[in-house]
């Protein structure tokens, strides 16, 4: 599935390439006072062999961009919790390769752009006349070099911002849309982002070149034995840089460059998050080569079917033919509840970690026991295959023992990703001693969290630990929606009462999770809202996932309490939980 998606993505990007190239040519050759000459020049240029060659090179660039998207995309963002962790991510070898490739691609695109613009930008060497002897030698064309270096700079900044802004994080939209309307809706945003990013990059690069431009210039000219034409104004001076036409072409080329890349990112996001429309498409996803998507799609499908499809809900509530066991419902509720209780455990562990870190060492005994229990619970999570969300597919495929369960889940809950920069590299005895406590809690967050503690407490990024805790909460939100809709629908649709048996479990699980979430929001920085991003290609949805989770949780409980009403008094749950549910019945939450 994912490779079909990649092929389609690259096909579309390549098809769109001539269009963007034509727009680029039109803009780069723009002249206000000679419109006819402008149009005729552009049409002749578009059919020239050099342009065709440039297009072939650009297709190669698009192909590599698509491959990198496929390799780097993630559904659970990695959130560095301190500046050191961020630095580690940026300097990671994998990221270095990424930056290097993007620098090269940036130079390639800029080379194509400079060839297309033509004129003084077209080649690296130009003939010039030496002032003293008068003979014609090959000189360095600084304009060409300037554009090439700008390409490398933009490539690096794209790669860098990709890490900082989580460019490769793919989020799911709150609503479903078909591919074409979604693409159409997002296109203006992409254009705007690429223009803005290009303007920023052009400004930064001009400043950089002004200060350090001399070094690459002399290096290139000495290695390639090119003279420097002293009669021309050097570009690393103020007057050289204040050339309107140069800055215009730099911005236009930068926009073209960013647009090509952003478009690929956008198309990739659209293709990855697309939901197939046919009934029972989960089976299709089971054949998917990429297992990371399966739990996401299974849960999204659960949320949708519980809301929209009566026939599939009835399938959930039905009993197995010989034996009369509600296998479907049991599988679904078990998986959802284990997901939610795993989140509860994670939250409680985080609260304990925060509380105990603030305390003095005299309580080491108690904290030891706590850490021991933590580590055991963490191991539990890591080793238990029952967490497998793919078993959700039980209603649709008969085999419950899905081969995908454990690796999918490991990536799903973000446990100890082996490519994380700090995994296995930390040798400090201090860390080692604190090991069981630091590493046992389920997510990667405590890693960065405690590391930052070690380096210095004030470099820790605020909110980051909170964001990291809820980084994969989209699945929890879907589980909550699916579960609450199914329970609410069972009030009128469940003929055999299969939901009744699990209702006390569900209610207490939700209430316990609500208490944990409430406590979490009392921690410092947890309830502060992140600043709104102005215009960025990076998706910042993960920053507000904790608020979305809280809202979804409350809505889920309200959905159940309003549907069942006074009948809830007959459900067997503990007194505190009943008190809490009474608040919901009276709409006092």
């Amino acid at each position: 599935m994912i490779f079909e998606c990649l092929v389609l993505l690259i096909a579309w990007s390549v098809l769109l390439l001539p269009v963007t190239a034509a727009v680029f040519v039109l803009l780069s050759r723009f002249s206000l006072f000679h419109p006819i000459q402008w149009i005729s020049e552009c049409t002749s240029l578009l059919t020239a062999s050099s342009t065709i060659f440039s297009l072939v090179v650009l297709c190669g660039v698009v192909l590599i961009t698509g491959l990198f998207n496929l390799e780097f995309y993630t559904l659970v963002p990695s959130i560095p919790c301190s500046r050191m962790a961020l630095l580690g991510t940026v300097l990671h070898p994998r990221q270095c390769v990424h930056s290097l490739v993007y620098c090269t691609m940036g130079m390639l695109v800029m080379w194509c752009a400079s060839v297309t613009i033509g004129g003084r930008y077209s080649t690296l060497g130009i003939p010039c006349r030496q002032s003293e002897s008068g003979e014609v030698v090959t000189c360095l064309n600084e304009y060409h070099l300037f554009l090439l270096l700008a390409g490398a700079f933009m490539g690096y900044s794209h790669s860098f911002l990709g890490v900082v802004q989580n460019m490769y994080y793919v989020s799911f939209q709150p609503i479903q849309q078909y591919k074409y309307p979604r693409f159409k809706g997002c296109l203006p945003m992409v254009v705007k982002c690429s223009v803005i990013q290009s303007l920023y990059s052009a400004r930064n690069f001009a400043a950089l070149y002004f200060f350090f431009g001399y070094a690459p210039k002399t290096w290139i000219s000495s290695t390639l034995h090119l003279q420097i034409d002293s009669s021309l104004q050097p570009l690393d001076s103020l007057t050289g840089l204040l050339d309107f036409s140069l800055l215009y072409h730099l911005t236009i080329s930068g926009t073209f460059l960013y647009f090509t890349w952003y478009l690929t990112v956008l198309l990739f996001r659209i293709y990855v998050t697309e939901v197939l429309k046919c009934e029972g498409f989960i089976v299709g996803y089971m054949k998917a080569n990429d297992i990371t998507l399966v739990p996401f799609f299974a849960l999204q499908d659960l949320a949708l079917l519980s809301q929209h499809s009566l026939s599939r809900r009835l399938e959930v509530f039905c009993l197995s033919q010989p034996g009369g066991h509600p296998h479907n419902w049991n599988a679904i509720s078990r998986e959802c509840l284990s997901l939610l209780s795993e989140l509860t455990q994670r939250l409680v562990a985080h609260q304990d970690a925060v509380a105990s870190n603030g305390r003095v060492k005299s309580q080491s005994a108690s904290s030891d026991t706590r850490s021991a229990s933590l580590s055991s619970s963490g191991k539990d999570i890591a080793e238990t295959p029952r967490l497998g969300v793919p078993a959700l597919t039980a209603p649709f495929t008969p085999d419950v023992d899905s081969p995908f369960s454990s690796p999918a889940i490991r990536r799903l809950v973000g446990q100890q990703e082996p490519r994380s920069p700090w995994f296995g590299t930390v040798q400090s005895p201090h860390i080692m001693r604190r090991g069981p406590k630091l590493w046992s809690a389920s997510t990667g967050l405590n890693r960065g969290f405690s590391l930052s503690k070690m380096f210095s407490s004030n470099v820790q990024l605020p909110e980051a630990s909170s964001q990291a805790l809820f980084a994969d909460s989209q699945v929890h939100i879907w589980a909550l929606q699916g579960l609450s809709h199914l329970v609410a629908a069972s009030f009128s649709e469940d003929q055999f009462g299969v939901v009744q048996t699990t209702l006390p479990n569900i209610l207490s699980c939700l209430v316990v999770l609500l208490e944990a979430v409430d406590r979490h929001f009392k921690l410092p920085h947890a309830s502060s809202k992140p600043a709104r991003a102005v215009c960025r290609m990076g998706d910042s949805t993960y920053k507000t996932l904790r608020f979305a989770l809280r809202a979804a949780l409350k809505t889920a409980i309200y959905k159940i309490t309003t549907t069942f009403g006074e009948h809830l008094n007959a459900v067997n749950i503990s007194t505190e939980h009943r008190k809490r549910l009474q608040q919901f019945l009276e709409f006092k939450e």
């Binding site: 078909y178 809706g185 429309k277 009128s492 959905k559 067997n572 009276e586 006092k588």
Partner: protein, 470 residues
């Protein structure tokens, strides 16, 4: 099929109190209690409320004319009126700027004006100013009340007042929180979030505010920190909002923006759904089961969105743009029957309808003639039935006190003994008119609330749980 002639003659100058035994009783009947239910019915007068402050530009005339430098004036014009203001300022100060700049800006300004007048001739509402547009496309009235919303689950309602504050009234509680916010200007619409006790969405002139009013708190002035501000460039003034029945999404619309925004409120992210044509979106309404969404435009067009994959159907205008201009104010509770109403009433003379949640009473606000003395606005109430065939029977007119005209109205979402109509009058009074009846049948059965009502109605036969605990 049903003309106003068969209605019982309205009793003028007497406030209608309630319906009992298929008869509307007014205050003239002896032995009736003046307020039959314990719901608060406050009254606001225009004098006690300070109107919203004037825009800053109009207060300029009160001060002596001070010549700033050109830079300062240009920056101010850019901040106040955007590109238009800047170009205007440059053109007007031709003696201070180079000639080519003044001529250039004059040309650009003329070009922009020509383009916008062309655009405005296609969509006349775009030439209105922001305030006029708010007045045109919202249910705003001349009274001290601007908008009204019942909470969908509890006995609690919110009222937006002329001074841009919002008050929240609860039954059995004397605490009335007053909500004020810097961005809360020209409130057009209010709606409580379904399946939530606290969230109230407010459509303002420049943004969308989501108040989180803690129901257990006794505070009378919740701080503005309790409000989330949602805004999107180009998406203002917002005149209509609609929560999805599950409370997960909020849709907002503006008459100037061709895109309507689908908000994920908790995440503060919006997905614009753009369809050119129509020139904006003025009215939104979800179907009760959440499967479709109606979006009306200022011109002769409206759309019905299907909310699974968010594709839309264009519906043709039925009787010219005049009817569709009325349609934008149509409050539809039962989606499928909307078209029946368009045909029954020709949509020429009423401006608002409201259907009670059980589908048994329909209130129609008949627009009066503001010039004629004897033609005030009145509310006609019909009895409706959808099975076996759709039926409309006259019930009567709901009258207010002498001189008061109804401005807007809404049925209580879950009144136990029938239906309860809340009417906001032009003299700033809010009154509740209960209709006592026993439910005869259910309308359509597509509404989850109705299904719920039927299930919970007979406790004895439909007991889910045996009593496990004493």
């Amino acid at each position: 099929m049903c003309s106003l002639g068969v209605f019982p003659a309205p009793v003028t100058a007497a406030q209608t109190l309630l319906e009992r035994n298929n008869e509307l009783l007014s205050a003239l009947h002896p032995g009736e209690h003046p307020q039959p239910c314990d719901l608060p019915s406050p009254q606001f007068t225009r004098d006690t409320l300070k109107g919203h402050s004037r825009p800053e530009s109009s207060s300029r005339s009160a001060f002596l004319d001070q010549r700033d430098t050109l830079w300062m004036r240009s920056a101010g014009a850019w901040r106040d009126a955007g590109l238009y203001g800047l170009l205007d300022e440059i053109t007007n100060s031709a003696e201070e700027v180079p000639r080519f700049l003044a001529v250039g800006s004059a040309c650009v300004l003329a070009l922009l004006r020509w383009a916008s007048s062309f655009h405005g001739s296609l969509f006349p509402h775009l030439t209105l100013s922001s305030d006029e547009m708010v007045a045109e496309f919202s249910q705003m009235s001349d009274s001290a009340l601007r908008s009204f919303a019942w909470h969908p689950h509890t006995d609690k309602f919110a009222v937006a007042l002329l001074d841009d504050s919002i008050r929240i009234y609860k039954s059995n509680s004397s605490a009335t929180p007053t909500l004020k916010h810097r961005c809360q200007r020209s409130v057009c619409a209010l709606q409580w979030k379904p399946l939530c006790g606290s969230a109230l969405a407010v459509a303002c002139q420049s943004c969308l505010l989501i108040w989180h009013v803690d129901p257990t708190s006794l505070s009378t002035r919740p701080s503005s920190g309790c409000a989330q501000v949602l805004s999107h460039p180009g998406h203002s003034p917002i005149t209509s909002i609609a929560w999805s029945p599950t409370g997960s999404l909020l849709v907002s619309a503006s008459p100037v923006d061709t895109a309507m925004m689908v908000w994920d409120v908790a995440a503060e992210s919006a997905v614009p759904l753009q369809r050119v044509g129509g020139g904006g979106v003025t009215y939104l309404s979800w179907s009760p089961d959440g499967s479709r969404l109606l979006a009306a435009t200022p011109s002769a067009l409206f759309r019905v969105w299907e909310t699974r994959m968010w594709t839309c159907e264009r519906w043709p205008c039925l009787k010219g743009s005049c009817q569709v201009r009325k349609l934008r104010k149509l409050s539809i509770t039962v989606f499928e029957l909307m078209y029946a109403f368009i045909y029954f009433f020709k949509l020429t003379f009423f401006s608002q309808t409201s259907w009670d949640p059980r589908g048994e009473r329909l209130a129609v606000l008949l627009k009066g003639d503001s010039q004629a003395v004897n033609h005030p606005s009145v509310i006609a109430v019909f009895k409706t039935r959808s099975s076996p065939v759709f039926e409309l029977l006259p019930c009567g007119f709901v009258m207010g006190e002498a001189g008061a005209e109804p401005r807007f109205m809404q049925f209580h979402p879950h009144f136990q003994h029938g239906a309860l109509l809340t009417v906001c009058w032009s003299d700033g009074r809010i009154s509740h008119v209960p209709f006592y009846f026993s439910s005869a049948g259910l309308l359509g059965g597509d509404s989850p609330q109705q299904a719920l009502a039927s299930n919970t109605a007979d406790h004895s036969s439909n007991k889910l749980y045996t009593e496990q605990i004493s």
